[in-house]
Symmetry: C2
């Protein structure tokens, strides 16, 4: 085992669009562990849109990422040294070790996972935080009944892909929105959505109307802006909106909701949520997601960037929708 | 009894701002009543913002007002002829007879009211639909706990005034927003709100911050636009928003919500509602409101326009906030 590892810290806060200059790769010594702690070698780093918001120094649901600190992030890896009786060397674990090849943990928020039927990386995607985000929004907020129509934006992504598949399993009509013909084909042909609209095709409103002949009963919103307004225009009375993200506005540009009247006339419910605030529901959700993934009923796709140094570029791509499926970084 | 009465029909749909030309006063014969029906002489007509939305020919929660038909509206009056055993001549009733001096009803949606301790007109305000709107939004959506801060726009109006008083009775900090120093003084000194912000004073954000030192836990929104955005900027985590109206946009101008990020970062819940869709809750709500009004614990104020012919001007004034308290028309 090498006595140093690499990590990426936030070098500076972005001013508008994130740039690779906002990150800095560092080589640091592997720390000694104390009683109760474990040392983890991370195999995968998860890249997620929420990280963009954390880079801002604004009041939000969590403290902002500090300049000079390791970038926050979910990781999956293996125990390589342990002074904690709950963990053995070789155990596969998922945690929040950040953009780093190694990390130390006292076991808090560290979850042992079984890779017999589910690949390790999936615990950062469909059977991890993104999957739980989809599961929470779908089951707790959208509450779609069989026969109802749901729409999810960023439908080929780590979260959106799970939303639509859960909806299909419950007998709903699932309509996705994604960028580009290739992603849309995947959403329909591989994931089994009823339809997927390519927002880059320039015909969003008409395509959405055609795909939702009975209107929309529930939205899972990941993007915001024009796409969200278009969906709002199709809402049925008492529609539900799970507001998960507004990636279109993460660089700070204004992202108004213009179709506000429909909130009132259609008596819509909208709720923003952060899935980590509902730990009591994770066992139930992960059990369902894990069962579906292990039996092939929940499909997922990954974009894997090679090596920690590739993380900043991969993250910038994620924010622009260049990824296809869950964006991961394979660590060496 | 005269053998004719006056009514006002919608002559044309408004194009942008409503004008008096959109209405037409007509004299029509008093109809004969059939078995099961009653004839009502209306003493008061209620003017309410929702009427503006009904004048548009757009998909909404109710069919649009038809051109040439009597304008929709709540009324309070007395039975003057009856072929329905449930109603006697002289009974005071509240119904939906529209902008008209008289009306025929088969008793459906007609409610007998007791004017012993509560004046008849109050059944169109604090102990009627506006009061129930406040009660529903406050108890079912805002669900504010003692010590929490609530904000209500159009605070001196028929709905807003009740929201704040219910909040005070439940131990909340109640902050109103109203137009002009006179209305604000009334909201604080007469209605007992903790503070009231004059949005016309040009210092909305700073005044709001000063009046909500602990942030805002729940909003009752009647206005929309800049005022709503200002309130959103003060929201605490897990805040609730009862979306009752957006009068600032009723003439068709765009009324975007700009502060969208806070919906997500503060995990807010927002719900549009129409109180008439929850008839099962009216007995409970009206019992509470009636008890409070009869014992002087629920205060209200009325602007009364004289005679049916004054209704269009009074309605235009209501949409511009010229009324002070519940806008009524006294019918002859």
């Amino acid at each position: 085992m090498n006595n140093s590892y690499q990590r990426i810290v936030m070098a500076s806060r972005p001013n508008g669009e994130v740039k690779v200059e906002n990150f800095r790769l560092e080589t640091v010594p592997v720390p000694e562990i104390n009683d109760g702690e474990v040392l983890i070698r991370n195999h995968f780093l998860s890249l997620d849109p929420y990280m963009r918001m954390r880079m801002e120094d604004v009041k939000s649901y969590a403290a902002p990422q500090a300049i000079g600190d390791t970038m926050i992030g979910g990781t999956a890896g293996q125990i390589v040294a342990t002074k904690n009786p709950k963990f053995a060397i070789g155990d596969y674990v998922v945690g929040m070790q950040g953009w780093a090849e190694m990390g130390v943990s006292d076991g808090t928020l560290l979850r042992k996972v079984d890779t017999t039927h589910i690949p390790l990386s999936a615990y950062l995607g469909a059977v991890g935080m993104p999957g739980m985000t989809a599961w929470y929004g779908f089951t707790q907020i959208m509450q779609a009944k069989p026969g109802e129509t749901i729409v999810v934006s960023a439908a080929s992504g780590a979260v959106g892909s799970v939303v639509g598949q859960l909806a299909k399993l419950r007998g709903c009509r699932a309509v996705g929105i994604a960028g580009g013909a290739e992603k849309c084909a995947y959403v329909v042909n591989e994931l089994g959505f009823d339809a997927c609209i390519d927002y880059k095709a320039g015909n969003l409103l008409a395509d959405l109307a055609a795909a939702t002949p009975d209107g929309i009963d529930a939205i899972f919103e990941n993007v915001g802006g024009e796409i969200f307004d278009a969906c709002l225009s199709r809402m049925n009375p008492f529609g539900r909106i799970a507001l998960c993200g507004m990636i279109a506005g993460y660089d700070g540009e204004p992202l108004p909701i213009k179709n506000t009247r429909v909130l009132l006339t259609m008596r819509l419910s909208m709720r923003g949520f952060i899935v980590s605030e509902y730990p009591e529901l994770w066992p139930q959700g992960l059990k369902e997601l894990g069962g579906l993934a292990a039996t092939g009923k929940l499909k997922f796709r990954e974009s894997v960037a090679p090596g920690l140094a590739a993380a900043p570029e991969a993250f910038l791509g994620l924010l622009k929708g260049k990824n296809f499926g869950k964006q991961l970084v394979k660590l060496n």
